[in-house]
């Protein structure tokens, strides 16, 4: 019953966001086009790097492309589902208007996380899915549904982990007030995940940090390894543990931070 209610609510958010976006159609087309330009920038960068090197930490050019496309998919899902919401959440705290959300008869975190959806990433998402398929064939020579399922599982866990980390960081606005550039910081973290984390192998401490503490490997490297059928079982087992732990910790932080929140009589 509860799930049904929230699904209905999500559908309503989806409809309102879609209507709002299609109200400004030229804007939607412009951003869809520009998002593709950003993707071309990523591809050009890898071409320029591989114009000088043969491999990066044992990853060939095509494998690095696969990492890039998985990371881009992660980026697009972040923008489609959560970034705009976290930006709005941050603004509500800064302006002292969060109580508007707190007083609604719905789970506050759900409301703050999914109220606004973006629609200018769909062309890119379709393109990325196609390119991921193409580069799986190019790198491995075959397409395995088992590998795709494993990759999807890791990708979803990675998404939950970073959604929780980003949410928790946004919550810190309650103490630091004017962190208006949080989204830019999220981009940097996300960009870290857009490279094969084996680059950190030369310093084990960094490798462990980016595998388990700030596990950027779950953004693209581990799902890509799964797509290529080279994933270690331990990484699959650890993924849901980290996802649940980060969801739980971010919720605890949110509850704790709310005790320090002061409104501006909105």
């Amino acid at each position: 019953m509860r799930v049904k209610r929230y699904l209905k609510l999500f559908w309503a958010f989806f409809r309102f966001s879609f209507e709002a976006e299609t109200e400004f159609r030229s804007n939607l087309i412009f951003w869809s086009f520009e998002n593709i330009l950003w993707m071309i920038l990523g591809i050009t960068s890898i071409h320029l790097i591989f114009g000088q090197v043969e491999a990066i930490a044992g990853w060939s050019k095509n494998e690095v492309f696969l990492v890039l496309f998985v990371a881009s998919l992660f980026h697009d899902l972040c923008w489609t589902l959560i970034f705009r919401n976290l930006e709005a959440f941050s603004r509500l705290i800064r302006k002292g208007e969060l109580d508007n959300a707190l007083l609604k008869p719905v789970n506050t975190r759900f409301l703050l996380s999914f109220k606004i959806l973006e629609f200018d990433h769909y062309v890119r998402i379709a393109l990325e899915l196609f390119l991921i398929y193409k580069y799986i064939i190019l790198t491995t020579g075959y397409f395995s549904f088992t590998n795709v399922l494993a990759a999807l599982f890791l990708f979803i866990c990675g998404f939950l982990i970073f959604y929780s980390i980003f949410f928790a960081l946004t919550v810190t606005n309650i103490w630091f007030i004017n962190l208006a550039n949080l989204i830019d910081f999220f981009h940097t973290v996300k960009d870290l995940g857009g490279k094969p984390i084996d680059i950190f192998k030369i310093k084990r401490g960094f490798l462990y940090f980016f595998s388990f503490v700030l596990p950027v490997g779950y953004i693209a490297t581990f799902p890509t390894e799964a797509l290529m059928g080279e994933i270690e079982v331990s990484k699959i087992v650890l993924a849901p543990v980290l996802a649940i732990l980060s969801l739980w910790a971010s919720q605890k932080l949110f509850n704790f931070a709310l005790k320090y929140y002061s409104s501006a009589s909105s």
Binding site: E34, G51, F176, L179, N181, D198
Partner: protein, 267 residues
Amino acid sequence: MAKTIKTISAFFKAETKKTLAYRGMVFLWILGWIASFITMVFLWRSAETQGTLAGFNQNQIVTYYFIGILVWAVCSWWPFWAISEEIKDGSIVQYITKPIDFHWCRLGSEIGWHTINTLFYLIFFLVIFIFVKHFLVFNLSLRQLLIFVFSLAIVSLVNFEFNLLISTTAFWILNTGGIGSLYWLVMSLFGGQIVPLAFFPKWSQTIVKILPFRFMYSFPLEIYLGQQSGWPLLFSFAVGIFWVVTFYFLFKHFWQKGLKVYTAFGQ
């Protein structure tokens, strides 16, 4: 002249106080840059190659990104987002209804923000230095150092004037976010932020070197690494100054045009 200095000084003071009050933002920028720097260093150190990378050895590459942090801290004069917001929400009226020149007000604010910003960056810059000093290249003479500092001034001004110019688009269009994003995209690539410009194919080198984007980031780094000297260096400075002057006059032109079509309410 005295009035201009007074204006710059007043906005400088106001902005330093504001930046100190909201230092959390500065720390986030710094953390972001450290993360990017670490990634690029590890990326290039794990690169498998035979010979040099477009004329760079591995230590020069690390130095490029390391000094890049300093260039970024000092030169990223980007008032675009703030000004276009002020034009859209009408708060720009506070400048245009007063007998002060908007250009110099913003210059004072930018110097203020970057003074505090650079001081914060320097602390972290020195900490990172301790960890990476073995990989860094230091062979700068006093003369080169002075040229390097001068190039930082040119880069700051190119960034500043170009940002002022594109912020005037807010007088005519609503979606300035798209313009900002497009500018960022082109600058990241052609400014040399992602990879040094020497990595570009040979046929594109001449074009890339006279585009204004090179003078938004890469130029001081080329000087630091000793890739520019003699007449080519002088020519590069001339091109940089050309862009500063061109953007300044274009801004003045579009600012006046924009004010004629501008409407604001409730201020």
